[in-house]
Subunit: 367 residues, 2 copies
Amino acid sequence: MLNRRKVIGGIGGAAIAAAAGAQLVGSRNRRKLGYAIVGLGYYATRMIMPQFANCTNSRLTALVSGTPSKLEQFGAEYDIPARSRYSYAQFDSIRDNPDVDIVYVVLPNSMHAEYTIRAARAGKHVLCEKPMAISSAECEAMIAACRAAGRKLMIGYRSHFQPHNIHAMRLARQGAIGKRRFVQSEHGFPINNPSQWRLDRELSGGGSMMDIGIYSVQALRYMAGEEPIAVTATENTDRNDPRFREVEDRIAWSFLYPSGLIGNGLSSYSSNHNHIRLSGDNGWIDLEPGTAYDGHHMRVRKGWDEPQDVKPPPGPGANQFAAQLDHLAVSVLENREPIVGGAEGIQDVRLIEAIYRSAKEGRTIRL
Amino acid sequence: MLNRRKVIGGIGGAAIAAAAGAQLVGSRNRRKLGYAIVGLGYYATRMIMPQFANCTNSRLTALVSGTPSKLEQFGAEYDIPARSRYSYAQFDSIRDNPDVDIVYVVLPNSMHAEYTIRAARAGKHVLCEKPMAISSAECEAMIAACRAAGRKLMIGYRSHFQPHNIHAMRLARQGAIGKRRFVQSEHGFPINNPSQWRLDRELSGGGSMMDIGIYSVQALRYMAGEEPIAVTATENTDRNDPRFREVEDRIAWSFLYPSGLIGNGLSSYSSNHNHIRLSGDNGWIDLEPGTAYDGHHMRVRKGWDEPQDVKPPPGPGANQFAAQLDHLAVSVLENREPIVGGAEGIQDVRLIEAIYRSAKEGRTIRL
């Protein structure tokens, strides 16, 4: 655990720093909202839960898991009383727990819709991990449920709270590299363990696109600053590989945008990628790694000059994880919409559906 | 001129170094074959002609130009006698010049076929700049003419004589990064001067694809080590921009290969790119710049390790330009086929035709 904390960069205790924009400014309200974490897997327990110690407006108050030993172990570690430890069968009674303001859904993809909707119906605000759900129809139901309940919905797009990504978007908007002409993003890793849930279509809803390619989709959107109007995709998957009997391995695609910008994306379960580059008519901005847990690296090239390393100004919060948790808490406290709400989540899922369709039909899909 | 020589890296006087493979080894024959340069533009006069001083088997013996003052200026500079200075009208009499063994065609693209065919008919071997021609039909005629005349034909793909590119191909073949899964290459520059020949379709045959995107096509092929079986492309060109009234600006495309490898390419006349990356299931090889005149930079990443800078072993010749000139000379002297002959050139032109067609029709083209 200590080791893992080191990996994610423990700028522990840092206050919410000079923020990137009004939307990201921390609340003057010092109240801490209570989070219930639903699903105690690696990401929840190793990456998210240690971060409440770095939060200003968020605290961990409840746990939901199907594994009693996990509830016991993490309940003890984080001082969660027995009444705030839930099995999935008990989940709906979370409505009666005044210590829980927000439910953070960190389950396999196919369970996102169900637990988001049940949380909203229980009167809780929801932070849901990406992908928002495994179909745009599910996303619509999630948005409707949160709206009907009068509760906030945010999707776990932590890059929007990460200093290098925030600074790259800012430079692009300011015209630092001229007019935007080409954006590219590749995300992937060689997946192993054929029995993991990511390779089980029932749980994942898809292959690399749903898990890691969605970072490329997101990056191609936030670096562009506009929405694609067409997509053209190519897939390759070795169906004889035991990992890929149910889900896709690699997909490459191009987005075309209204301004004429072109975007190339890659999603892979059989090669290493974590890269974003935006090229203008007067240089480029490069992030590699671009969306990692830490260790981000940014280079900017002006015209034909040598590329320069750029250290961005501090972002909000102690790090992207803590800032993300606090952003939803502050959005709730101040009754503002989160910057990455349901509309952001459904757009990525719609684009992934279009990418799948383009690859399958071998033609450009107009959006 | 001195300045330019510095730019291209004057490893002057270096002998043909330990070569990459048998095909690139220099000849033990010390005879120097005579080259006629056809077209005295920037590339010919600044990049190529100074390199004969670094060659082992090649010398400059004739000049062909439509501009008498250029013939006079460069004829004097390179000590070319008046009888070996030709206008285009006089070109066919080059057959009677025993000092000329090889004709190097460095003309605008639409003139490549004509001068290659006329050179072959005049009994000369031919080095032709890329793109080989502006259509695959022209390429076929060029191959047929050289075959009928019993003369060698080589296309100016200098990356095959450039140490970083040679080493990258070698590492890929040796499995240094595992099984090849994704290859990408972006080439482009913001073009200016709307009146230049590259933007005149009559002379160029096309836009960025013909001039700079062809480097991406080539790189996607030589880094893959196999030929694409399908292509899917997206184009964007602002036809209101005075530069792009006749030719395309940007095209992005994906190649699919028999092994399942996917390749993403970009060609641009409105942003800076000179990049090649091959990703395997155990790391990647990155060249940036990848196909510049000099200053190549290579990084290799093994698995999840930190990327490492890699300095390749010396390639053949003093540099890629001299090695290319000598390769054809040695191929002639030893009656071997050049490693980048007409078959290599026509394949790129066929792929460019397929890329254009895919972008126009909005669908995947099977090859």
